[in-house]
């Protein structure tokens, strides 16, 4: 409750939460609002925005409804953003926890492995992975997860390294608690806030990566996505600015909203920013 109260005092975070809420609503309501498949031609090609009240954001060169595309595209962005982050966090936490808790050679090996993945240019790697495993929601999600876990692993490792040396963890060892129990009940809960903050910012990055992949034509051909719409509009820039403007703006809003929320969580959870009371 305390968390909600402090969070709601953060102006930016509240705005972010409202925007994200609207986008989620739009994704859920898309089949109702725009029952027609967004891939289908529904009107004259290249209708300008606000020209026809039924197609407020205009149509593309094949007469597809831009507004419908944006509403349906929200689903893919949110889905891939969230799921890939969950996978990445899972991998990152596991690797980081083991490395940080055990230290020594295990830590050394795992960190070399992590550094290796961190040093390889993430986006290029994602492009190659998706291209080779052929584009689908699954391959895109996994590719994004594969390139984004190292950050979490390093963070969790650092947290574990420092928490492991904390006296309350040593006390748990001394009273005879088992290692899994110590990790789960003593260390992990105390490492949770930075993990949550990082994860929320990772969702934003994942959405950007997904849109960039679909922009390059590496999107799932069965679902409409914002990045694909911009990619398709690239060659039509001169003739139809609205084709690329609106989907891009949607991405900007979604990512901005999530970043605002992430920063809000960070402000609330980071005690050193709060007025410390004795």
């Amino acid at each position: 409750m305390d968390f909600v109260k402090r969070f709601s005092k953060n102006y930016g975070a509240v705005v972010g939460a409202i925007i994200l809420g609207l986008i989620v609503l739009m994704a859920i309501a898309a089949p109702v609002l725009f029952p027609v498949d967004p891939w289908r031609t529904v009107a004259m090609p290249l209708l300008r925005p606000f020209e026809d009240a039924q197609y407020p954001l205009g149509t593309d060169m094949l007469g597809r409804d831009i507004a419908a595309g944006i509403a349906h595209g929200a689903k893919v962005s949110l889905l891939i953003g969230t799921v890939s982050t969950l996978v990445a966090v899972l991998i990152g936490v596991s690797v980081g926890a083991v490395a940080g808790f055990y230290g020594g050679i295990i830590d050394d090996l795992l960190m070399r492995f992590t550094e290796f993945f961190q040093i390889i240019p993430a986006f290029a790697m994602a492009v190659v992975l998706v291209a080779i495993f052929s584009p689908s929601i699954t391959s895109i999600t996994l590719a994004i997860a594969v390139v984004s876990w190292p950050g979490v692993a390093r963070l969790v490792r650092a947290e574990f390294l420092s928490l492991r040396e904390r006296e309350f963890v040593q006390a748990a060892v001394v009273v005879g608690q088992s290692v899994p129990r110590i990790i789960m009940t003593q260390i992990l809960p105390n490492a949770m806030s930075p993990i949550i903050v990082t994860a929320s910012l990772m969702v934003a990055t994942a959405i950007l990566t997904e849109s960039a992949l679909s922009f390059l034509g590496l999107g799932d051909r069965n679902v409409m996505s914002w990045g694909f719409m911009i990619g398709a509009a690239r060659t039509m820039l001169r003739e139809a600015w609205w084709m690329s403007f609106f989907p891009g703006f949607a991405i900007l809003l979604a990512v901005l909203a999530i970043n605002l929320i992430g920063e809000g969580i960070n402000d609330v959870m980071n005690p050193h920013l709060r007025g410390r009371k004795q």
């Binding site: 050394d108 070399r112 006390a171 009273v175 005879g176 105390n190 007025g275 009371k277």
Partner: protein
């Protein structure tokens, strides 16, 4: 005696008048300091003493204009040479800082810029105060480094701070402060972060430069021993108020205010306990260490050589039930490593740890786990040793539950122990942040006792506490140890504390035991040169707080509890018969 009587001729160097600094909302009191009035005369050392939260550093920072932005002086004045420092424009204040008034801080490790050589940092003081000739500055830097007792000024000038020890860095900070021969030096707990022998050197240095330069020094400290060593005059602060003010002689030997009396009564006095352990020595030892060794290797990577630091070397000792053994040493002596090896938080390289005759050193963590409950530890930091996300109840019962006791049963035991350590049973459902440092340390003690251990390891368990709380916790520890007839290893950097609670003491330096024996013998007649140095370095040797309290008790005044120690030890005497 008032200020006027002492120096009729000279006006005070600095006058603080009715200074009040308001705290932001949400604190437990309205003012950080309230209505503070004092003078500083040229050539005197004025000690400001108090416990944490007393506001003792606040005037020092206000004089320098270094208060955090949230804290604003709301009333009063600080007059220096006819000018009120509180209303002075920033640029004029900046001119004064470093030239007229200089400051030395508590943490020498963080007080220096890590990316500038120490020479550059001293040079900067001269530069920003208008010395444009670099040749003159260089000469002065070398002079200063030499003056504060740093070896080879020409070389050390080009060193970065991370290359220097804590004591050396503090000397650099002092050199910076002295660069322009200020008339006032403010020292905010300048020796608290240092080892006792280093502390003695720095105190000597400050006294020496004060005498030579005739500066007025404001020395902020929590340690009455330090006060006894250097103060001309003393101000005692409690919760933002000055409760007592007078000459060192007055405040130390005839304290009038009950708070001052209480603080002095709590000063660890090094009265060795002795006696009680002798009878138990007949039995088989509880713990025996034989030639224990541990070396740290750090930074060894795939392509790099590790750094090797021997932490514990050839340590042997014996501990019986009912005996308290002190392990005393400065930082880097390996005393904490030793404690962590015994409790198997660290693995030894070689040697035996015989616990009830069984060597536990080679046991794996899994094999040792069933035995863990018999050997428990009380940690140093009352804030870090309790999981902030667990209730006190959870913290206490986790151990028994991990050892197969049902939670309700463990709860009953927890409530008994909370009562034993002097806490209310309602503590069970509360979280650590709701307790003070001393209370948390009591919780830590209760946790250690939950598993009915027969061996307790207390690692600097009272070091983080204020002196009055420290005294209470020490008393509790001693009481419990005697009542339950535990074997206790008491690790500390403070010989006074060790002598007060321990039967026997071993003194460690760089991983080796340099001397061991009964506490009284070590304290009164140290054999090893290093132990002698340690004891000589204890601040306040020539002042006996026990005597002060006893003489006060003869008068009908309301002095707080005096410690029930069996016998008193004279400071500075070396009589082996005592």
């Amino acid at each position: 005696m008032t200020t006027d009587q002492r120096h009729m001729s000279e006006p005070p160097l600095l006058s603080v008048r009715n200074l009040s600094i308001r705290l932001p909302e949400g604190f437990d009191r309205e003012y950080a300091i309230e209505d503070i009035t004092y003078d500083l005369d040229p050539g005197e050392i004025l000690c400001v003493v108090g416990e944490s939260g007393s506001g003792k550093s606040m005037t020092a920072n206000a004089i320098m204009g270094l208060l955090p932005e949230l804290l604003k002086p709301v009333r009063g004045s600080i007059e220096y040479r006819g000018r009120d420092l509180l209303t002075l424009p920033e640029e004029e204040k900046r001119e004064l800082r470093g030239r007229d008034i200089a400051m030395v801080f508590q943490e020498p490790l963080s007080a220096l810029n890590p990316l500038m050589t120490v020479g550059e940092q001293i040079d900067e003081v001269l530069l920003v105060h208008g010395e444009t000739d670099s040749g003159v500055r260089l000469k002065r830097v070398l002079e200063l480094l030499d003056f504060v007792g740093l070896p080879e000024p020409a070389t050390i000038r080009n060193s970065y701070p991370f290359r220097l020890s804590g004591g050396q860095r503090q000397r650099v900070v002092i050199a910076m402060a002295l660069a322009l021969e200020p008339s006032i030096l403010i020292a905010d707990e300048p020796t608290t972060a240092l080892d006792v022998t280093t502390q003695a050197q720095i105190l000597d240095l400050i006294k020496r430069i004060q005498r030579i330069k005739g500066m007025g020094v404001i020395f902020v400290t929590h340690d009455f021993g330090v006060v006894a060593d250097i103060a001309d005059r003393v101000i005692v602060m409690e919760k933002g108020l000055v409760v007592e003010q007078g000459t060192a002689e007055q405040v130390l030997n005839q304290p009038r205010h009950p708070y001052t009396q209480r603080l002095i009564a709590a000063v660890p006095h090094g009265a060795a306990a002795g006696g009680s352990g002798a009878a138990v020595h007949e039995q088989a030892p509880l713990l025996e260490l034989r030639d224990l060794n541990k070396t740290y290797r750090t930074g060894g990577g795939l392509f790099s050589k590790p750094r090797v630091v021997p932490a514990v070397q050839h340590v042997s000792l014996t501990l019986h039930r009912g005996q308290t053994l002190g392990v005393v040493g400065e930082s880097g002596s390996g005393k904490s490593t030793l404690g962590r090896i015994i409790i198997k938080l660290l693995q030894s390289d070689s040697g035996q740890i015989l616990y009830h005759g069984q060597d536990i050193a080679p046991l794996s963590q899994a094999a040792f786990r069933p035995m863990r409950k018999r050997i428990q530890m009380i940690f140093q930091d009352p804030f870090a040793s309790l999981n902030p996300r667990h209730t006190v109840g959870r913290i206490l019962t986790d151990g028994p539950v991990a050892n197969g006791v049902a939670r309700p049963e463990a709860r009953q035991r927890a409530e008994e122990l909370l009562a034993l350590v002097g806490l209310d049973a309602s503590a069970y459902g509360r979280y650590p942040h709701e307790f003070s440092g001393g209370q948390r340390q009591r919780i830590g003690i209760a946790r250690a006792l939950m598993l009915d251990p027969d061996l307790l390891i207390a690692d600097e368990s009272v070091s983080a506490l204020d002196v009055s709380v420290q005294e209470q916790v020490l008393r509790l520890l001693k009481e419990i140890q005697e009542r339950l007839q535990l074997g206790m290893i008491f690790i500390t950097h403070d010989l006074r504390v060790a002598a007060q609670i321990c039967d026997d003491i071993i003194v460690m330096r760089r991983g080796e035991v340099v001397e061991s024996g009964p506490a009284a013998r070590i304290f009164d007649a140290p054999q090893h040169e290093y132990t002698q140095r340690l004891i000589a370095a204890i601040p306040g040797k020539d002042w006996n707080p026990r005597q002060v309290i006893e003489s006060l008790q003869e008068e009908p005044s309301d002095v707080a509890h005096a410690s029930p120690a069996s016998r008193t030890l004279r400071w500075g005497t070396a009589d082996p018969a005592a």
